[in-house]
Symmetry: C2
Subunit: 403 residues, 2 copies
């Protein structure tokens, strides 16, 4: 059996980032910048007032006090957005609003709270230093500065910086397109009637949601147990997607493993199927298919196995497709409240609940690879190393926190 890390390394070695595209700012949300973004102009692009008040020559009010106030005529007013070239003559002042262009000649702004707020004439009873309440051109970002480095994921603050710097679009890698395929004659659509022997299909819903949560876009597909149909579907989708993920049809049993049958020796691509030393999720496959060498992950069909496999191999693959270093597992440790068991030689990922303080973790009842009830209540996976067959209550375990 291969170690988890060996399979992950095989996956990551075959994945190339998706082609960058020029995206508008809304389309670029949560995308990953593909080239450094630089400032074509300084930010702010002009000297402006940080307060509502009066633009003055500071020297005119240098001697102002409560007892000996200075009154200046108000010769103009400049609201934000006013693009006129206004000037403040010595011995006068100009009313100015927050964000407005600083008039020529002015070297300070006196906040309205420090004045009588007059409209024709304004009275000043204290001095302010030169530069007071002025935001200088370029005091946030200088022209030519790198705003954001390639590889930055664009959240709200990064999008805002790009917008404020005048970038209407950026070169970025958008959400990778992932086609999710469930196989099996037993699958029926949730909401439809069921007869014994059939089950409601859940893996495409789960994996599509997980793909979107990890920053991809997803389409869902389903096929029965006919290898030729599955092969044709995989072929079609390989030309429309950046990554294919199948579930089911890869167990060890034989003639009914439709994904194995479809992809083994068909010339469709280069896929290897392996046992990975983990539980759940031992049977895994990975390779590339179609003319674009589209990567394909073939996950086991039990839903908890598919979930854990996606977490270990699919999420890092999505990071790599976006040009990011694969996220490390949130590394935390917590004390087990109850004992756990694990098959020797395989690393277990047991479903558990981390306590509110993160100090303890409780393994859930129902650890079968088909048991979604426990998975849906879990907020963590408890990791039991290959060489351990059990851990006791009070032992400290590695824990992966789930979103």
């Amino acid at each position: 059996m291969d170690p988890v890390e060996a399979h992950l390394a095989r996956v990551l070695a075959a994945i190339r980032p998706v082609e960058p595209a020029r995206l508008g700012l809304e389309a670029a949300e949560e995308a990953v910048l593909a080239a450094d973004a630089t400032a074509a102009t300084p930010l702010p692009s002009f000297d402006n007032s940080s307060m509502d008040g009066y633009a003055v020559h500071a020297s005119d009010i240098a001697a102002a006090t409560d007892l000996a106030s200075v009154t200046l005529p108000v010769t103009d007013q400049v609201p934000a957005g006013d693009t006129r070239a206004v000037t403040v003559a010595p011995g006068t002042c100009v009313r100015i609003m927050t964000g407005a262009l600083l008039p020529g000649g002015a070297d300070a702004v006196v906040p309205v709270e420090l004045t009588d707020g007059g409209t024709d004439r304004a009275r000043f009873s204290q001095p302010v230093p030169k530069g007071y309440s002025i935001r200088r051109r370029g005091d946030d970002v200088a022209e030519g500065d790198v705003l954001l480095l390639a590889g930055t994921r664009l959240g709200p603050a990064q999008i805002a910086l790009l917008a404020a710097s005048g970038h209407g679009s950026v070169l970025a890698r958008a959400a990778p397109r992932v086609a999710v395929i469930a196989t099996g004659n037993e699958l029926s659509e949730p909401g439809s009637p069921l007869v014994p022997g059939q089950i409601w299909e859940s893996n495409t819903y789960m994996l599509a949601a997980a793909v979107r949560q990890a920053g991809g876009s997803a389409t869902r597909h389903r096929a029965g147990d006919d290898p030729e149909t599955v092969l044709a579907l995989i072929g079609d989708l390989s030309e429309q997607a950046d990554l294919l993920i199948t579930s089911g049809g890869v167990s060890m049993g034989g003639e009914h493993d439709v994904v194995k049958a479809a992809l083994s020796g068909s010339g469709a691509g280069t896929i290897t199927f392996r046992k990975v030393a983990m539980q759940p999720g031992m049977p895994q496959g990975f390779g590339v298919v179609g003319p674009d060498q589209t990567p394909i992950l073939t996950l086991p069909g039990n839903p908890v196995s598919a979930f854990v496999s996606f977490w270990l191999f699919g999420r890092p693959a999505l990071d790599a497709l976006q040009g990011l270093a694969p996220r490390l597992q949130p590394a935390r440790r917590a004390e087990l409240t109850n004992p756990v068991r694990s098959p020797p030689g395989r690393r277990s990922f047991l479903r558990g609940v981390l306590g509110p303080d993160g100090a303890t973790v409780t393994p859930l009842t129902g650890q079968g690879s088909h048991q979604l009830g426990a998975l849906a209540r879990a907020n963590a996976l408890i990791v039991v190393p290959e060489q351990m067959a059990s851990m006791a209550a009070g032992d400290v375990a590695d824990v992966i926190s789930l979103p």
Copy 2:
């Protein structure tokens, strides 16, 4: 000035959860369940095999050993999805695949690895206990069990449990619709040419991204400094949105505060404008507008002020609209690597970078409320309490971790 908590309490007191709707499973991703979801059928809905192997009467192979193996005729085979009513007669066996309906009469499945894998006849060289490799009907979820409680956010695992239990749709609260409005004659579209006095508009891009990150949907709008136009826009949007968020036009200065002018005493709704004891973001407003009493948050226009205000008041409002208890701020503490200052009487939210281990936090250069450069590099807000004017390097501060 009002404390932050008083303003937040005012906001939350006025917000009602959005109406739930019946959503298909893909539409329900990341939505919040509005009623308990229960299991109409047990899960699994029929006894089935957890392995590829042979369904047997366990008593037939109870004496099997390597030296005295038992050979049974294979009378049928049952793949997953086969809905026939197959029976295993005593002294015979049936080939069975993972997930397939257990044939009548069988009380154990022998994994193929423990046999010779024969097709007409199969040889068994060890016994298995009754129930071996069988998943019993209902061993994951019993009929009538609560699958998920109202108030659960539907991530991949929860969606999977709903699908596997046959729910094609659920009653849930979808993403609240938020209309984001920026005001100001100075605003120009990113990507367009600019003249001094104008700035590229960034707040709608930032706030829309922040709304989506917090689980809402967003539309972006812009208006100049004409109060009647702003009032008409707010009126229209109040009938299409679950929450309005404006930025700008609420400072203390007077006639150019367009949002204040539009909403004060107009009969459009009930809005109060207040100073909140925080920095950035002192001028805040909240109320309800329009026939549906749509809540409206009026945030200050400086981009960092708007960002911090959204974090403190907008995110909890989105939680409340989804019927969730407002998320607590991720409560963590970290040691300052450098000193910080804060205006007395106001709580500061300074932009900083948490170290990789989360133990230290470094305040960034450029803490002005217009300085997006530092915000875009920050991964944390450093909280300085109202009663402190400074904190020293080595002091431990409360820190809000940003996504």
